[in-house]
Structures are given as structure tokens and as C-alpha cells.
């Protein structure tokens, strides 16, 4: 049995494992501590200081996301001193960027906005001085507006530690610091693989999914969990639907295996086909050999299929018919297809493209 470490948070006796941080134990015990730069499964960097708490005996406030617990530790998460410090951090973050919720795609799903609201900040005490970075509109997949960046580094850790694409990092120093690919290039000219993990990781509107721009507010979109239609990994994804259209695709680490919230360029940005104008909308039939394909009713098309299949079977036997099922279709459809070929037509001539 692993030894439990006892400590006190906000007067409550709680327990944790060796190596756990104050934040982890607090969350596990249902005690809320605000965070911004913290991201599960990545290095704890303590960059934003939003999660500071008071620890008895400590010289200063400590970042709860980085501080390991120790036996007998006494932690307070809600003292006036803690709240004043957290509030100050949020005010500074607000004032350092162009956080204009009116036009921001993350309005309603922004962690900075949530913190401002939580701390009831009407306006920062400091002058608002956005850094004046040019927007990266170089591609139609990922949009970057670093004037909204809070330098939490979550995108960098998502890129390096989760996807391990090793494209993003901090460049420059101090107030001129920014995140991005090497040599400050736009994404399209970098080695970026467009997995979009950085956009999912971003807590604010600095890195967003371009297809979603003006495609519906968070509270207007319906999230439908499904399985990706591309390769065999079977990533779990959220289709964000507004007015019967998929406006964007997001990952969700809460969905667990197999992908723990990660996606790739195809799953993330390859859904345009669903609403493409060239989608087939009506059955087509060739009414005479050598003629064109013409629109038909389902009745006419299905009658033709059934009668021609029957005709071939009567004349040449069931093995003169064959069917190619599809690794793109569902289990239910594959099952039904082979059942139809075997029981309905009477042949085992059924295969699919696994070999190609």
C-alpha cells in the first residue's frame, strides 16, 4: 500500500500521494483553485501565477500547480492575500493584451474571461497596452492573434509534449516575448503539421480554428461526440454543429482512449466534404447504354437495381454477382452488406478494400 501524505487545505484534512502537487490534491478533494497555464499531462511550469496559495511557513505565496505536498502542510486557497494576488495577475494579463470579447471567437469559452468575471474586475487598474503583433491569417486552418496571447505556454507544451511535433516555442524576451514557430514565421511557412492541438490548448482567443470564425457562438453550437472517419486510430472528436453545419472539430481529453483528445490535420480540417455542393443528393440512373446518368426517384432506381440483379442471378447464377463492401462504412452496414450478398443474393463474392 502506498503511503498517504496528510495535509490541511482550507481547514479540511486531506490526503495525497508523494509527488503530487497542492493543486492536484486540492482538485481531487473538490477544492477549487483557479489556473491558466496549468495543463494536464504536460510539464508544470508555474508561469501565470493565477494558482497561488498561502502555505503556512512559506516566505511568499506559492504556485500550487508546482509545489509538491509535504506531510502536515497547511494550505489556504481563499485568504484576502491570495485573492488580491490572483486578482492582480488577472488584471495584468488583461491589460497586457487586446482582449476584446466583442469580436473574439472564444467569447463564452475563454478562461481569461472566466477569471475576470470570477474576480469581478470591472476594468484593470493598468493602462491597456497590446503588443501590436500582426495577425497570422496565412492559412484557412489556424488563425493566430498574438495580441490576445497570455504567454501561458500551453500551445508550446501541446506541440512539444503531447503531439511532439516540436514546432512551437517562445521567441524573444520580456514584454516582447511571443509564441510561434522558429524565426517567427507564419504557420503556413513553418514545419507545422496542422494538428490543431495548440488551438485546443489555448485558453484564450490567441490561437483559434479559422473555419469556426463567425461560424456560431459557443452557446449556439451543439457538440456531437463521434469517431473520426479517416484512418484506423479511431480518434474520438467533437463535431461543433451550428444550423445543421459542422463549423469546427475539437478534441476533448475527457473522452479518453484511444487519442486522449489529440487529432491530426485530416480529422481537424478535413470535414469540408460533408457540406460540399458536389455531394450526391438524388439517385442517378443510366436509362440507356452509353447515355448519361440522369436523376431518378428512389423507387425507380431501387426497382431497377433489384430487377437487374434478379435477372443476372436467374440467367447466370448468383456467382455472376459480386459486391464490394466498404472499410469506410459502419459495422452495421458491413454486416448488412455481407448478409445481403450471402442470404439475399446467394453468393460469397463479397470483399472490401482492406488489401489496397
Amino acid at each position: 500500500m502506498e503511503k498517504k501524505i496528510p495535509l490541511t487545505i482550507d481547514g479540511r484534512a486531506v490526503q495525497g500521494r508523494a509527488g503530487q502537487t497542492i493543486l492536484e490534491v486540492a482538485r481531487h478533494s473538490g477544492i477549487f483553485i483557479p489556473t491558466l497555464c496549468y495543463m494536464d499531462r504536460t510539464t508544470k511550469v508555474g508561469a501565470c501565477r493565477v494558482c497561488v496559495v498561502e502555505v503556512e511557513g512559506a516566505r511568499t505565496l506559492v504556485a500550487s500547480c508546482c509545489m509538491p505536498i509535504s506531510p502536515g502542510m497547511v494550505v489556504r486557497t481563499d485568504t484576502p492575500k491570495v485573492q488580491a494576488a490572483q486578482r492582480m495577475v488577472v488584471e495584468l494579463l488583461w491589460s497586457s493584451g487586446d482582449h476584446n470579447c466583442l469580436t473574439c471567437e472564444r467569447n463564452g469559452s475563454c478562461e481569461l474571461q472566466d477569471l475576470v468575471y470570477r474576480f469581478q474586475i470591472e476594468k484593470p487598474r493598468f493602462e491597456i497596452t497590446p503588443p501590436g503583433h500582426a495577425k497570422d491569417l496565412s492559412n484557412s486552418m489556424i488563425q493566430r492573434d498574438l495580441n490576445k496571447c497570455v504567454l501561458c505556454g500551453r500551445c508550446i507544451r501541446a506541440c512539444n509534449e503531447i503531439q511532439v511535433n516540436e514546432v512551437l516555442d517562445f521567441t524573444r524576451r520580456g514584454s516582447r516575448a511571443k509564441v510561434g514557430p522558429a524565426f517567427e514565421t507564419d504557420y503556413i511557412d513553418s514545419d507545422c503539421f496542422f494538428c490543431g492541438e495548440c488551438a485546443d490548448a489555448c485558453p484564450v482567443g490567441a490561437i483559434t480554428l479559422r473555419p469556426a470564425r463567425f461560424g456560431g457562438r459557443p452557446w449556439e453550437t451543439k457538440k456531437v461526440r463521434t469517431t473520426c472517419t479517416y484512418c484506423g486510430v479511431g480518434c474520438q472528436m467533437e463535431l461543433n454543429v451550428h444550423e445543421d453545419r459542422i463549423v469546427s472539430v475539437t478534441g476533448n481529453s475527457a473522452f479518453g482512449e484511444p487519442n486522449l483528445g489529440s487529432l491530426c490535420a485530416k480529422g481537424r480540417f478535413g470535414m469540408d466534404f460533408v457540406h460540399h455542393p458536389d455531394r450526391l443528393k438524388k439517385p442517378l440512373i443510366r436509362r440507356e447504354k452509353g447515355g448519361d446518368l440522369e436523376e431518378a426517384s428512389w423507387e425507380e432506381a431501387l426497382d431497377l437495381v433489384a430487377s437487374r440483379f434478379k435477372e443476372i442471378r436467374e440467367k447466370s447464377g448468383p456467382d455472376a454477382l459480386a459486391g464490394l463492401s466498404s472499410a469506410r462504412c459502419t459495422n452495421e452496414e458491413n454486416y448488412l452488406f455481407q448478409k445481403f450478398m450471402r442470404a439475399g443474393i446467394g453468393t460469397n463474392n463479397v470483399d472490401h478494400c482492406a488489401r489496397l
Partner: protein, 539 residues
């Protein structure tokens, strides 16, 4: 699949994706994982960067994974059996095998050992070009790991020796006792979302759902009763390539194609087109008017994955839900509904109200799926075998016992590819996918973003070959094989080895399958997409 089924009794990925992150060694061969299964690629990269997993990559191309590899063996295309036998030769010579496992869990070891004896590192170097010392180092790295996992994909299977390649991979895993343990196994990565499911459901000419043989009378009797028919055919049917050939000969007269585009994906497209044109009647059911649909007599519009309910089974045997998010355009219908309507019209009534009703029937006739209900997989998928509703699913197969009983070693000799370079066609062409596109391009090429990143087909050619042929980066080149000719722009890159060009098959205007060799693996019936002979010239 046939190779793995022969060795272990099941052709499925033995272990789970999540196990890769914490295993001790990964041997990746014939899989460009970061482009074809990017999220699994990320797991492999995390294992290497964060968990000290050793990585051995065996691949003729300098794929991204080589950047993360401890050892990269760059073999000549199509020499996989020699390399794998070479690894096993070293393991046996240096006494690194798991003797207890070999003795206790496998059979036919002696015949296998005799063949492998010949494949000394020096002999293998002559065949494959892999330096003998590198081969030894890789063998030691794999064999000394406590748990080691093998990943492979189409780079192993799309050869005339594909089944041999797979059997060799299985040999290697068994030799080091890596089957039936967490973090080990032989893991074929499936290229399409539901290849595993389509196979499990019996969309194969020789088996019913759950690989129950059509040739077995007692199995047929079971399905005759379940499906309410007098008799079911007992003779295994034709495979996809055999169907196309039979159509060419006039033996197949009517063909029903659901959601496939052989006019881009089949080898030797001219032959495929002739075959389809010879049919008396062709029905294509798809979401777009594909190249194949254009040849059809009837085209039926179907719903996309975002417009219907159902399940997919991923590469690690995990059954997961597919959910309807949006309505279908026009009169398009889910594929299952179209099939049911045709069947009913042909006098075989299929009255299903929804996908769940079909699923419930599947559970009754598919023992490995019996315990998987929609309700149980509402939040997280379950991995088959899952024989009853209390069963938690199976993370890895062959624990304590192989599906077939004992693991079967196969004695495999190296055979060269069917078509090798000669004077007229002096280079090797290898084909595959790129990150930003998918299969025949029907879905990805209409994506604005993906097309910005990769807008046209490129021929990857080594700088040495390029300069010899006077080809600059971006120059249009013509590739010619015995079967056809295509033009595309050159990408001069060291990713391609000297003497080999690589091209993807996503672009219909540069359809590389006009060139590929339809020579099939005799057992798996998979065409040799990874090696054919071509001539490359500036166009």
C-alpha cells in the same frame, strides 16, 4: 492479416495503442506512422522523448520517425524478409531469444531455425544494403528489451511477399517472447477507419462475422437459421482483385460497390476500367460521383459518417460509436437503409428501424462482440473479444495461450519483388499516402485547408538521381512503367533513397495506379504497391 492469422490464430492488432507509450522498445517497419496514423505517431514520439523507449525504424524512406529513432535500418525496397531473418539470425547466434517462451508456447521452431541460420548479417547486407553492424545493434536492442512492440502497416503487406513479411514479423516477436504481454505484440496499423470492423463483420469472401468459415457446414447451418434462409453458399467467394479479373473475363456480370473507388485505388487502372466497363450492370453507392460512380448504371446517394448512427472498430479492436450530427443533403440515405431496401425488393425482407436494431442482431451472431451494447460504449469504446455484458473487453490478445493454441513459426525464405528495375525501367516506384490527404482524395481534396498545405501530387526523388536526370525541384517529370505513364512535379529530397521514387495515390490527375504492378501476394491477394519498375524523365 492472413499471415498473422496463420501464426497466431487472429489477424488483429494484438495490443493496444496506449501500451506503446510505456513499452521498452518499439520496432516500426513499413509504417510511416506520423503521416498515416498521426495520433499513434505522437504516442511513439512521446514514448521516445519522455519515457526512454528505444525505437528501431526499418524503412527505405527517411520518414519523420527516423528523426526519433535510435537505429534506422534503410533496406532496399522489398527485402524485408531478409532483414527480419537477419535480425533473428543475430538473436539466435548471440543467444538472446526467449527459450522458455519458444518451448512452452510455440511450434515448428526447428524448421524456422534452419532457414534463419543462413541469413547472417553479412549475407543480409548483400541483399538489403543494411550494414551488418547496424543489423546486429538493432537485433540486440529489440531482443534485450523486457517488453518490445512491433508496429507495421502497408509497407510490410503491400508486396507479393506480404504474407511472408507478416509471418516473419510474427516469428521475431515470438522468438523474443513478446506476444501475450502488456507493451509487446505484433501491431498492424489499419489504414482505414473501419477496416477492422469490415473484416470482423464478414465483408470477406471466405468468412461470416467473427471469422466463422463459410466452408464449415455447422457454421452455415447456424447462419441459415439465424438469417432465415434454406441454404447459404459454402464455396468461398472471390477477393477484390479476383472479382475485377472475373469481370474482365465476363464471369462477373453484375457488381454492387458501396463506398469504394477502385478506379483510383486499384493497381493497373486501365485494366480496372476495362473490367468495370465489361460489366452488364454496375451499381455504385457513394457520397460523391467518384471516378467509379461515373461508370455505373445506377448511382445511389448515401449519407456520410456525420449523418448517421452506428459503430466503427478501430485498429486496436475498439468498438466506438458514430453519431449523427447533421442532416443528409437532398435525398441521401444511410447505407444500411439502402441495402435493406434493395434486399426487401429482391424478396429477402430486411425490416430494421435503425442501426441499433442491426447491432443487436450482430451481437447474436458474432461471439467476440456479444458483450458490447450501445449503452456500454456510450462513454468509452470496448475492445473485442468481449463475449458477455460483464466482460471488460480485451486489451491484449494471446495471453497465456494463442488463439490457435500454440504460436506457429514459419520458415520463410527471401524472395525478390515481382518486378525489379532493368535497363528500360531502371528505378523503383513505391507508393503510399501523405499526411494531408486520404486514400483516393475524394474527401480531403475538397478541404480548403488541407489543399493549401498539399495541393498537387509530388514525386519524391533523391538529389543524386535528380541531378543525374537533370531534374530540378518543382520540375514536371514523367514516370513510365510497363503499364502506363503519369506526369507530376518532382520534389527533390533525401527522404527517397537513391534509385527509388515515391509517389502518393491521392490525385486523380496524376493517378499513380496507372503505373503500379497488379502482381498479388498469393495468399493475402494484396497488390505490390511498394515496388514496381519505372523510368523517370524530365517532361
Amino acid at each position: 492479416m492472413a499471415g498473422l492469422a496463420a501464426a497466431f490464430g487472429s489477424g488483429a492488432m494484438t495490443n493496444s495503442i496506449a501500451e506503446l507509450e510505456y513499452t521498452d522498445c518499439i520496432l516500426a517497419t513499413g509504417t510511416n506512422t506520423t503521416e498515416n496514423h498521426p495520433v499513434i505517431g505522437a504516442v511513439v514520439k512521446r514514448a521516445v522523448r519522455q519515457h526512454n523507449t528505444k525505437l528501431v525504424v526499418i524503412d527505405p524512406r527517411e520518414i519523420t520517425l527516423t528523426k526519433y529513432a535510435d537505429i534506422w535500418l534503410r533496406q532496399k525496397p522489398g527485402t524485408d524478409v531478409a532483414v527480419l531473418n537477419g535480425l533473428m539470425n543475430v538473436i539466435l547466434a548471440e543467444n538472446l531469444s526467449d527459450k522458455a517462451f519458444v518451448e512452452g508456447r510455440t511450434e515448428n521452431f526447428e524448421a524456422f531455425r534452419q532457414v534463419v541460420e543462413k541469413y547472417t548479417p553479412e549475407f543480409v547486407e548483400k541483399i538489403s544494403g543494411v550494414p551488418a553492424e547496424d543489423l546486429k545493434r538493432a537485433a540486440r536492442m529489440y531482443a534485450r528489451a523486457k517488453r518490445a512492440s512491433i508496429l507495421y502497416s502497408m509497407g510490410i503487406t503491400q508486396h507479393t511477399t506480404g504474407t511472408d513479411n507478416v509471418k516473419s514479423v510474427a516469428n521475431l516477436s515470438m522468438l523474443c517472447g513478446n506476444v501475450g504481454i502488456e507493451g509487446g505484440g505484433v501491431n498492424p496499423l489499419r489504414g482505414q477507419n473501419n477496416v477492422q470492423g469490415a473484416c470482423d463483420m464478414g465483408a470477406l469472401p471466405n468468412v461470416f462475422p467473427a471469422y466463422q468459415q463459410v466452408a464449415a457446414p455447422e457454421v452455415r447451418a447456424f447462419f441459415e437459421k439465424a438469417w432465415g434462409v434454406q441454404t447459404l453458399p459454402g464455396k468461398p467467394g472471390l477477393t477484390i482483385m479476383e472479382i475485377m479479373n472475373a469481370a474482365h473475363h465476363g464471369d462477373i456480370k453484375g457488381l454492387y460497390i458501396m463506398g469504394e473507388n477502385p478506379m483510383i485505388s486499384d493497381p493497373d487502372l486501365s485494366h480496372a476500367e476495362e473490367s468495370l466497363k465489361k460489366l452488364d450492370f454496375l451499381v455504385v453507392q457513394d457520397i460523391f460521383l467518384t471516378e467509379t460512380a461515373r461508370l455505373a448504371d445506377v448511382v445511389l446517394p448515401s449519407a456520410s459518417f456525420a449523418e448517421k448512427e452506428g459503430t466503427f472498430t478501430n485498429t486496436e479492436r475498439r468498438v466506438q460509436r458514430v453519431r449523427k450530427a447533421v442532416g443528409s443533403p437532398g435525398e441521401a440515405l444511410p447505407d444500411w437503409e439502402i441495402i435493406a431496401r434493395i434486399a426487401t425488393r429482391m424478396g429477402y425482407p430486411m425490416a430494421y428501424g435503425n442501426a441499433r436494431e442491426i447491432w443487436e442482431e450482430i451481437r447474436k451472431v458474432t461471439p467476440s462482440y456479444a458483450g458490447i451494447s450501445y449503452k456500454r460504449i456510450e462513454r468509452e469504446g470496448l475492445q473485442w473479444p468481449c463475449p458477455n455484458t460483464e466482460h471488460p473487453g480485451t486489451r491484449f490478445l494471446h495471453k497465456e495461450r494463442f488463439t490457435r493454441g500454440r504460436g506457429l513459426f514459419s520458415a520463410i525464405e527471401y524472395l525478390p519483388p515481382a518486378e525489379l528495375p532493368d535497363e528500360a525501367y531502371p528505378m523503383i516506384l513505391s507508393t503510399g499516402r501523405v499526411l494531408y490527404h486520404y486514400h483516393t482524395g475524394t474527401m480531403t481534396r475538397v478541404s480548403k485547408g488541407l489543399s493549401e498545405r498539399y495541393s498537387e501530387s509530388l514525386v519524391e526523388i533523391n538529389p543524386e538521381d535528380a541531378s543525374r536526370l537533370g531534374i530540378d525541384d518543382g520540375r514536371t517529370v514523367r514516370l513510365t512503367s510497363r503499364r502506363g505513364s503519369v506526369r507530376a512535379k518532382a520534389k527533390v529530397t533525401g527522404r527517397s533513397p537513391v534509385g527509388t521514387v515515391f509517389m502518393n495515390f491521392h490525385f486523380r490527375e496524376a493517378a499513380v495506379n496507372l503505373l503500379t504492378n497488379p502482381a498479388l501476394d498469393p495468399i493475402g491477394k494484396i497488390p505490390e504497391y511498394k515496388v514496381c519498375a519505372v523510368r523517370v524523365e524530365a517532361a
